[in-house]
């Protein structure tokens, strides 16, 4: 897992974290407001952005998740350091 701990790595993670938080908030909001179409539209838009950011991250730094939720490069590296709490 090279090229870790550089500027771009943390920038991408920060972006991913921010968009994930927005998705969590929207998800909780939509649980109680199922007919709010604006929020649903925003949720889908953010989900697409999240997908792009995650894809960008994974092409550079390896899979974020495993069991089929992330594409893997060669070698198989989801269990390599650094783990999320070590970053």
């Amino acid at each position: 897992m090279s090229a870790v701990l550089n500027e771009d790595y943390y920038k991408l993670l920060h972006e991913l974290q921010a968009i994930d938080f927005v998705l969590v908030e929207l998800n909780l909001y939509l649980d109680t407001h199922p007919n709010d179409s604006n929020a649903i539209q925003q949720y889908n838009h953010c989900a697409e952005i999240r997908h792009q950011i995650a894809y960008q991250y994974e092409t550079k730094y390896g899979p974020l998740k495993h069991f089929g939720q992330s594409l893997s490069g060669v070698p198989w590296s989801w269990n390599e350091a650094p783990w999320p709490w070590q970053v």
């Binding site: 920060h14 974290q17 921010a18 938080f21 927005v22 908030e25 109680t32 709010d36 604006n38």
Partner: protein, 75 residues
């Protein structure tokens, strides 16, 4: 930065209290106590701000500062 969500009260202090009395106590009253049902289309923070403030909607933000600073009598 004056936090308008903090309210204060004075606990009763009796002559036989075993420990030194706490004369002034405070509690936080975040906005969700006053909003029965969140209206749609509230103004939102940007993603980075939302991450910093801990909520997507400024209307629901509550600072919840730490209480170890000296309590002033804001009662």
């Amino acid at each position: 930065m004056e936090n308008n969500q903090i309210r204060y009260y004075k606990p009763f202090v009796g002559p036989f209290d075993p420990c030194p009395p706490i004369r002034l106590k405070s509690f936080s009253t975040p906005p969700q106590l006053f909003i029965p049902f969140q209206p749609p289309n509230l103004p939102q923070f940007s993603p980075y701000e939302a991450l910093k403030y801990g909520t997507l909607w400024p209307a629901l933000f509550s600072p919840y500062d730490s209480k170890n600073t000296k309590l002033e009598a804001g009662d």
